[in-house]
């Protein structure tokens, strides 16, 4: 659990910094690095941790901007894409989460390429 918390924290901090300077997909690179350097038992755990961290990051940042804006822009973007504006924050989180999940999982699987079979067992 401690490890999970630390990974999440690193993704939040590094992810925020990376996305300030680089395009949206940089969050997947950050997740992959975390997946690579933290020893996950399996790729599913890595996927879950990456998804959770980036969902949290994207939805909480979007939610923060949205509440400061009192839903004004979200309401209009909702009309534009014909979705209820209430879905926009969760949808944002979900899309970020997928990037984080696949990123972390790919990082973990890359690491496993270099690990010796016996070491894992």
């Amino acid at each position: 659990m401690k490890k999970f918390g630390l990974q999440t924290l690193i993704i939040l901090v590094l992810g925020s910094i990376a996305q300030y300077f680089f395009p949206f997909w940089s969050i997947a690179v950050v997740a992959a690095l975390v997946g690579f350097f933290f020893k996950y038992e399996n790729s599913a755990a890595s996927f879950a941790a990456g998804t959770a961290a980036v969902t949290l990051l994207w939805s909480s940042y979007a939610g923060f901007l949205n509440s400061a804006n009192a839903n004004q822009l979200a309401d209009q973007i909702g009309v534009l894409f014909k979705v209820g504006s209430g879905y926009l924050v969760p949808a944002t989180g979900l899309i970020g989460g997928l990037l984080g999940g696949f990123g972390a999982q790919t990082g973990t699987l890359l690491r496993k390429l270099f690990e010796k079979e016996e070491a894992v067992a």
Partner: protein, 820 residues
Amino acid sequence: MKFIKFLLSLSALLGLVYILNKPIPIQTPTPEDPTKTKETLIPPIGPFVSPFTGFWQNAESLSDFVPQKLEVPEMKGKVKILFDERMVPHIFAENLEDAAYAQGYVTAKFRLFQMELASRASGGRLAEIVGPDALENDKLKRRQGILVGAERAAAAWKESKEVSAIMDAYTAGINKYISELSPRQYPVEFKLMGFKPELWNTYKSALVKKYMDQTLCFGEDDLESSNALKILGADTFKRLYPELNPKQSPVIPTGTPWNFKASKPAEKPAVQEAIGLIRHKVYEKERGVLGSNNWAVAGSKTLSGKPILANDPHLKLTLPSIWFELQIHTPEANFYGVSVPGVPGVLIGFNEHYAWGETNVGQDVNDWYQISWTDQAKTSYQYDGSVKKAKIVIDSIKVRGMEKAVMDTVRWTEWGPIVYDSNESGWHDLAMHWIGHEAPNPDELLTFVGLAQGKNHGDYKQALTQYDFPAQNFVFAAKDGDIAITPNGKFPIKNKEQGRFVQDGSSSKNGWAGFIPRDQVPTTKNPKRGFVSSANQHSTDPSYPYYYNSPYFDHYRGRYLNKRLSEMDSITAEDFMKLQNDNFSLHASEGLPAMLAQVDTTQLSAVQKPIFDKLKAWDFRFDKDKVEPVIFTNWWDKFYEMTFDEVMVWKDSIPILMPEKWRVVELTANSPSDIIFDDKKTPERESAKQIATASFLATLKDLSTELVKPDFAWATYRKFSIMHLARIPAFSRMDLPVGGYGQALNAIAGGNGPSWRMIVELGDEIKAYGLFPGGQSGNPGSPFYATDLDKWVKGEYNELYFMKNAEDKRKPTLFSIDIN
């Protein structure tokens, strides 16, 4: 195995990134016609929804406005910009150039997309960002010579030391803002449409100016008039389309003497050339756009004893608005008003000494000439008895989504560009000769510097001499008691009826005979009646020695306004607020009784009679909750179409002029048995009686399902909306509960309306009120996007905060920018 797993995961990730990074075309209904769909590119999902780069970054809050400091080494002095609670910038600068820099910077900060879009739309570069849909617009701008006109204007401005210094500073201010911008800070429209803001330049400002020229002085009906004359014959044409309305109440009061001898009186009638029917499909013209009012009353008519000035220019209403409000304070002057994003300075406003405003003059300064080619390849044409070579300009238009640019050829003649593709004969084409193609006075923009910095009527008059086009009725009222109005601009000297019809382009004699000298442009100062006014009507009575015409002159608002102003006394600013929001229509008050009088009431059923009586009892006000405006306007349209069946039959096949409203009213009232009321489809000879009755019954039949709706009223029926500039419905405000009518002072109609309502009480302390339907910010995610729209709908005003100096603390400062 491990390797395959890794590869699968990696490809899933890359696939996801690829999908999220790729714009996906979807089918959406077009805003103009919901039954048609078009392919719209939606933005790449990833960058657009990422809270770090996408639209969430445009979700603005008050806490985003933290005081800002800028270093601008090339600036001469220091500038302080204080923003009040409505985000109106008050610019305190040590000189005008620094003020222009600051104006450029703040305008870009709040209106960047608008500026980019306006310059692209006017410059024929829309297809580059929106794709093939905009190709027609882009071609048309080239063929109308808009780009050439803008190039010439930009080049002319460079010749003026003062203008180019202001333009350069303004441009530098805009570019300072653009170059500091990171993609996450782009206005949300750039993110949606997936393109980048370009750096600004003087040419783009000239394109924005050309956009205004096109809106205001491009109108003509030459092709339509020529066809109507050809089809109906000279007698009927004269009867249906008279130029002079006997009831007219011109801008310069009737009977004002002319204290000059006209340099070339308009006597020789223009030669009517046998040009034949013109079958070109004409480009779409914006009809009924103009409905501006301005007026000023002398102290003798006001409660305070000081003049009051009012101005409400009517333009296409959009979000954001055409106007951006600001104050500029320099050691030379302190002035406040509205500007157009892309052009430096204040166009309508006031300073510590006087107020000024504009309405459109609308005289026809755009004429057509028939060109006779001497070869089939259309390289040369006949001109003054010899053969002249056309200048052939080949231009390429970039189109988004197409690999190759589209090429288009425009032929330029002595007169101007050939606008339309060839008619069937192949040997003739039409060239356009527009004043907007010509290089303006290099100092033209100093008109507004002069107006802003002036102290009295003499300064106002001096400033106006530098102004060329679009011609405007410049109204003026000063603290010292003077009021004045001048239909001002560069006006061509024309023969009688010249430019009303298409003319023969093979003779230079058919061109304009120079321009009216500036000291012969009509003006009036402190007239006896105690007020000056304009509402786009005729500039003068027929005794003015120069000929001018326009298919767009107003025939109702001006007369009503002058009547009201003569009646009113002990006037206050509140009285003028009511007058600007006045929904009374003289067109209805003269037209409806004439139509009602013709209806054969014995043909009305027990259900129809009460509606007839309701119309009869109507006060002719187009208020939002009344039903009479709906019935009247529908009946009017039907009555009009049935009356002019002989003109209507041509309408879909060729351009043809439609008679003006006032003439129809006059014929109905005075000559109900005129042959024009005869329905050509029947053997009987109809009069206004049969037409009025039949059209009334047909109208009620058409409206039968509407009439029983519980919320049936003018506002709910006509659904007036203010659209976002890119016509994105989500960013627009639909179905506003407003009244008004094109022929009422509150001229809200067809997407146009009062774009800025301003009232200035002159006095030792200037008190000003104003409001435009929108807000200072162009960002749909800003609290300042549509701030004042509700107030505008209700006819309310803001008291304008005219700061005395940077230390003025009467109202709070919300945000500030310090430069150097």
